[in-house]
Amino acid sequence: MTTNGLTKDYGGAGLFDVDLRVPRGSVYGLVGPNGAGKTTLLSLLSAVRRPDRGTISMDIGRSQVAVCPDVPEFDRWLTAAEVVDLARSLVASSMDGQAVATALEAAGIADSAGRRVGGFSRGMIQRLGLACALIGAPELLILDEPTSALDPAGRAEMLSLVAAMRGHRTVIFSSHILADVQRIADQVGILRDGRLLYQGATRDLIDTYLEPSWLVRVAGDPAPVAAAMTARPWATKVEPVGADTIRVEATTVEAGERGIPAVLAECGARQVSCEPRAADLESAFLALTGANS
């Protein structure tokens, strides 16, 4: 899926000139602060809203796109199985009842298949929404905040489920939980004020917008290690932070991860610990949005 100059203007707010590139088979995480335009973008991709400008291109049919909103809603007097069966009748009428059971099972609510939706918790409703999205084996899955109502165990299950889709189908999901995005998304897009600030590989984002650094603690005097580190081209800054500890900053995460053990080995130093600074998406997100503020 690609978009070109996608714009939806709500009088200054909305979405502006978004060029999305979602590789086939990837898990694409969409992150951004409240009001950044995540839901607007997903609504445009889902075709429940129309853009003011720009285009959306997909190499699959609309019937191969499944959508699960952040707060799914269903008629309270239907059972979970009936809801998923209704979704089956609309998108995959040739499939049999076993497909319904499989979707309910995958979403973790097979035990509640015969219960009416009116008695479901919000987490179960969210699982039911996912079951509806899974039926028909869509090529593209659009999930808006899929873990927002789930408890920790449910979140882990949901993330594992989405992560397992990588390579089989394309998933675009939004989340305000950056750790979730980092865990399962191989591609990430960062929105702020309706504009796409970054998109690309999650790992590249972390590498690009962080100054990777480590606290290296050795047994004995760290000075020879610090001197050897300083001489390396990938080391941008080396400074002592204690009697047996130095802080090393590198040009990239990979350079540091490869270079530090090599220098320690060359120096014959006895490493006590090598603790990376938290190199996570949240830090990268803050660095990116902070740099652009």
């Binding site: 429940v48 007097w77 069966d85 097979a110």
Partner: protein, 261 residues
């Protein structure tokens, strides 16, 4: 989480069954049937015993009524076509057509259909049929009771009145479908639909137009019973009602397609 997918019964759900379940798993069907049958049973009794009733509540004031006739016995019930019965029909239909008032439900439906006719056709058909059946049950109740208490009303006029009433209620459901595309909420939809249905008869005061208006069908059962008109008199109203209903549904489908959620 279980590890073996449970076998489920054969697939049965579709948008038509959804509307059927909406009727029978909620108080909708009961409300439709109850309101028409209640008035169908009540009105002939009131007509038959109106003298006695007024004697008891009239504080000594004596009011003379003409002898109850079969036409009068059924006429009171027929008035529900533009009264309580109509309101219940519109409220029930509005609940089915206002799916856009719930964002999650609207997303579920809108991202899975190929055409809005898929949503409108079963909602209109099932609600119109349910309204017609409720009205017919009430008419049969009124017919039976009038026959027992007062005398047999003319069968031809009764059947003709049933047809007119059923077509008028289908028109009311179509108007409700259109109203649901003007606003999103159920209350607003009911208000707009009832406003249109109640205000339209005002135009019918001008006689040449009145014979063509759908509201003529609401009054037709009484006129048929009284022998004022023959069923063929209402052919223009039938044609206009069918055309307006079809147009209302077509415009509703177009407006739903243009609407964003």
């Amino acid at each position: 989480m279980t590890t073996v997918p449970a076998r489920l019964p054969r697939p049965r759900m579709n948008l038509w069954r959804l509307e059927w379940l909406r009727l029978i798993r909620t108080p909708r069907a009961l409300a439709l049937g109850a309101v028409f049958v209640f008035f169908g049973l009540l009105e002939p009794v009131l007509t038959r015993y109106q003298s006695q009733i007024f004697r008891h509540v009239g504080n000594g004031v004596h009011i003379s009524f003409p002898p109850a006739t079969p036409a009068a016995g059924v006429s009171g019930y027929v008035g529900e076509l533009s009264g309580t019965g109509l309101i219940v029909v519109v409220v029930v239909a509005a609940g089915a057509f206002t799916f856009d008032s719930r964002h999650g439900l609207a997303t579920f439906l809108r991202t899975r259909i190929a055409s809005f006719w898929q949503l409108l056709a079963p909602r209109f058909t099932v609600n119109a049929a349910a309204a017609a059946i409720g009205y017919l049950l009430g008419t049969l109740a009124a017919w039976f009771e009038t026959d027992v208490l007062i005398g047999a009303p003319p069968a031809g006029a009764m059947l003709g009145g049933m047809l007119c009433g059923a077509v008028y209620l289908a028109y009311a459901v179509a108007v409700t479908a259109l109203a649901a595309t003007i606003v999103r909420g159920t209350l607003g939809t009911v208000g707009i639909a009832l406003g249109a249905l109640f205000l339209l008869p005002i135009a019918g005061v001008y006689r040449p137009i009145g014979n063509w208006l759908p509201s003529a069908l609401a009054n037709a059962p009484v006129d048929l019973l009284n022998g004022t008109h023959h069923l063929s008199h209402y052919l223009p109203a039938f044609a206009v009602t069918a055309a307006v209903s079809a147009a209302a549904l077509a415009i509703a489908a177009l407006r739903l397609r243009l609407r964003e959620i």
